[in-house]
């Protein structure tokens, strides 16, 4: 009964989405207030219906209703309750419902937080979001309903993929989807602007907090995904350039470009068309990511069940949404003016370069991700594109980008003087150069790429501190707003991230050894001794637990307990690494296979990694997200915009 209620709610939501997608847009076109006003209530009704559907599915999971096919496929009576809730988005159908819940939540947020906006703009934004919702709901109902019954009911479920039974995976997909879907609001604002022809500073100011909020979630989502891969896959890597990872990284890159471009549009009225194009692009890449993950056209370590019918639907949807937006862009954009003029050397130019670099980066990730498909389609053979391509392409793009991060905030709008800029930042440049030369020696050995990475990270940090000092000294402009602090904190986050990537890449060491109880292995100045191997039984798995002692200079630090789990339902072996996390390094231990059965020594193959500064990678992501959060709470976004007519 409850699952049917959920299905019914989805069908009703589809009808509401149709209303939301048509009436407010028509109303805005005609200037009919009563039609425009329908947008808000429809958005709220839609959210209520989808939340009901989502609640029904969650209820089916928590109560182990194995007469629902999707529950039987992704849960099990032995699964702990928290994972039963997470199992709601453990498969294709539920992920889409989560996607839809996020989309309707963003729509709801727009309907509630847009009191200060002109009614036509709100109507158009909500209408565009309604059209996107309509497409997605149709997709769910036609190809991927999570409420399909299984009769007779299964005695027990097949269980959630053990890889997903992890706290990181409980929050990773919701965060990522919040980010993905959040760009739909920026997209809706862009389309509304093209429809109305109003593409000005006020429009940019409305779009900015929404874009930044989506970007915060996406940053956290991508960071969490990478952290999860690090500790759950047991390989010690943190980014694999897998198509599914790339699918989340591309919208992040364009979203970052969009945030910066919006700043220019708001402050100087320039880059209007470019900003609109970026907003369309960021959301398009989110949709494309969904397509790539769900259609099976690319090979990925994330094995999703694929269905060509779904692929065709998403592709059609993609074609309609992106195609019509780009058509609208080609039609309307030429009429938009150019905005404020600026000199060759100005903050605008620097931000333009930032945008070009980020867009090229996103383009090269897209090319690398789709290259195997393109080559195959042109019958030029079968290839796979791996980390060497991405790393080769990325370093030359990121070097100038990091250099610009240091310059940008100190440069003046409209026209900046090179001499003035050089004078202001010479100390920062000196500090960075010295750090790049000296610091690697202190940490071990000097290598060109490590020197460069350290130099750039310190440059970003030092230039940021310089700009903050200058601003505080020169208090004529009053107290700096929160947006100022947010921007600088996020840039410091970039510096921290770069330090993490550079040092872990440069100095990590690993040993893959056979260890019998009593054996010791030395890695990165730490010694790890295997005390013994024991067995343990968890709620839905049995595990072999290694007991290892980590010590340095003869002093015992702690014990590490990596596990090798076997889940009852799937017999799938899972590696749970044990990690000693530190501010300057991780020691990472994972169990391989038993290799001492023949001689009765009880030996195992054990992999031990020493990873200097690896946690700075995620620390950097957190700082970036926190910077975004501070910027979004800036006072001027909360002020009512006065005197702007639609």
């Amino acid at each position: 009964m409850i699952p049917e209620l959920g299905l019914f709610a989805l069908v009703l939501a589809l009808a509401v989405a149709a209303v939301l997608g048509v009436l407010p847009l028509v109303g805005a076109h005609r200037g009919d207030s009563s039609w425009m006003a329908i947008g808000r209530s429809a958005a709220q009704a839609q959210w209520l219906l989808i939340a009901t559907a989502f609640g029904c599915l969650t209820y089916a999971f928590v109560t182990n209703d194995f007469s629902v096919l999707y529950v039987a496929e992704h849960s099990n009576s032995q699964l702990p309750t928290v994972y039963r809730v997470a199992a709601v988005w453990g498969g294709h159908e539920g992920s889409l419902l989560l996607w839809m819940l996020m989309l309707s939540s963003w729509t709801l947020a727009v309907s509630l937080l847009s009191r200060a906006l002109p009614e036509a703009m709100v109507a158009r934004v909500l209408g565009v979001l309604g059209l996107v919702s309509f497409g997605f709901l149709l997709f769910i109902l036609m190809t991927s309903s999570p409420f399909e019954r299984l009769l007779p009911a299964a005695a027990d479920g097949r269980d959630l993929n053990p890889l997903l039974q992890d706290p990181g995976l409980v929050i990773h997909p919701p965060m990522l989807y919040m980010g993905y879907v959040g760009f739909s609001v920026a997209f809706a604002f862009a389309i509304a602007a093209l429809l109305s022809g109003q593409l000005d500073a006020a429009w940019a100011r409305w779009s900015r907090p929404w874009t930044t909020t989506a970007w915060i979630f996406l940053t956290l989502g991508v960071g969490l995904g990478s952290g999860w891969a690090y500790y759950e896959l047991g390989w010690g890597g943190w980014w694999f350039w897998d198509p599914v990872e790339n699918a989340s990284f591309m919208p992040w890159l364009l979203g970052t470009a969009l945030m910066h471009s919006l700043a220019v549009t708001e402050k100087r009225g320039a880059f209007k068309n470019w900003t609109v194009l970026l907003a369309i692009g960021a959301f398009s890449l989110s949709l494309l990511g969904t397509f790539l993950v769900r259609s099976g056209v690319l090979t990925s370590v994330h094995a999703f069940a694929t269905d060509p019918r779904r692929g065709i639907f998403i592709l059609t949807f993609l074609g309609v949404v992106i195609g019509s937006s780009l058509f609208l862009f080609a039609w309307r954009a030429p009429k938009v003016g150019l905005g404020g003029r600026f000199a060759l050397m100005s903050r605008e130019t620097l931000l333009l370069m930032n945008n070009v670099l980020l867009a090229v980066a996103a383009g090269s990730v897209l090319l690398g991700t789709l290259y195997p498909l393109i080559i195959d389609a042109l019958a030029l053979g079968k290839i796979s594109v791996g980390p060497p391509y991405f790393e080769t392409v990325f370093v030359p793009l990121m070097v100038p980008l990091l250099f610009l991060i240091g310059l940008g905030p100190s440069a003046r709008w409209k026209e900046a003087s090179v001499i003035d800029l050089a004078r202001r930042l010479r100390v920062a440049a000196g500090v960075a150069l010295a750090a790049g030369i000296i610091l690697p020696f202190a940490l071990g050995s000097w290598k060109p790429l490590i020197g460069l990475g350290v130099l750039l990270a310190v440059w970003v940090a030092a230039a940021t501190v310089t700009d903050i000092r200058n601003r505080l000294k020169n208090s004529a402009g009053g107290k700096p707003p929160r947006a100022f602090w947010g921007m600088h904190l996020a840039h410091i986050g970039v510096a921290v991230f770069v330090i993490g990537v550079t040092l872990v890449k440069g100095y990590e060491s690993e040993k893959d050894v056979r260890m019998a109880p009593g054996d010791t292995v030395l890695v990165g100045g730490y010694s790890v001794r295997l005390v013994g191997i024991t067995n343990r039984t968890g709620p839905n798995y049995s595990a072999v637990v290694g007991e290892l002692e980590l010590s340095k200079d003869g002093r015992l630090l702690r014990s590490l307990n990596p596990e090798k789990r076997k889940y009852f339902s799937s017999e799938m072996p899972m590696t749970e690494a044990a990690i000693d996390t530190g501010f300057f390094r991780d020691v990472y231990v994972s169990l391989g296979e038993p290799v001492g059965e023949k001689d009765g020594s009880g030996a195992w193959s054990v992999r031990v990694h020493h990873k200097p500064f690896v946690d700075w990678i995620w620390g950097g992501c957190l700082l970036m997200a926190l910077g975004g959060l501070i910027a979004v709470t800036d006072r001027r976004y909360r002020l009512k915009v006065k005197g702007v007519a639609a």
Binding site: N273, P308, L315, L318, K382
Partner: protein, 201 residues
């Protein structure tokens, strides 16, 4: 206006490629074997039947034949077995078996630290018993089965998942490789038409 059409144009091109990726039967996981168009690697192996002479692909010159890699521990082999059995009854093409790592491929077996003639003989004997038992239980579609007990021939052939099936022509050249179970569909659409064509030449 033209300049503003560029994004739309690029998107349409992209859409074309994505649509191509959705065509039925497209599988990005499928890796073509580098051995296609190359001579089948030579080997000389003992057969399941301990009384038979050693088998070498050299002996197959002048015939079009299938080499099917299987073993008793392979679950998907059971799936394709009925297809192979009915194929062998039609006599369309002779099927030769290559039994891959019958003993050491099985999870329960521990490889000897040092291979000695005695350990090899014992492993071969055990492998023959298991393979024979499996064939008598499920039926035998093979003209004969060669025992790749150490898996070294499998390495030469680039076996990375059992079952695998090779189509080898009269000159001993590998013409096609199928990874995974042979299905009735793959047989009718790909393997048999290819065999017919090769028979003509």
């Amino acid at each position: 206006m033209k300049r503003f059409m560029i994004p739309l144009f690029l998107f349409v091109v992209l859409l074309g490629f994505l649509a191509w990726g959705l065509k039925p039967g497209y599988d990005p996981h499928e890796v073509p074997s580098p051995l296609i168009g190359k001579p089948a690697p030579a080997f000389l192996l003992k057969q399941v039947d301990s009384n038979a002479a050693d088998f070498s692909p050299e002996q197959m010159k002048g015939k079009v034949w299938l080499l099917n890699v299987w073993s008793s521990w392979c679950v998907s082999c059971r799936e394709e077995h009925p297809v192979l059995l009915s194929l062998s009854k039609t006599g369309a093409v002779p099927i030769y078996g290559l039994n891959y790592k019958e003993v050491r491929g099985d999870g329960g077996f521990k490889e000897p630290d040092v291979e000695t003639p005695e350990s090899n003989a014992a492993e071969l004997a055990l492998g023959r018993r298991r393979a024979e038992a499996w064939l008598s239980q499920h039926g035998n579609p093979y003209v004969l089965t060669a025992m790749d007990i150490t898996g070294r021939v499998g390495i030469d052939y680039g076996v990375y998942g059992v079952p695998e099936t090779y189509v080898i022509d009269k000159a001993g050249i590998i013409r096609y490789k199928r990874i995974g179970p042979v299905t009735q569909e793959s047989l009718e659409k790909k393997i048999l038409p290819l065999v017919k064509e090769l028979e003509k030449s």
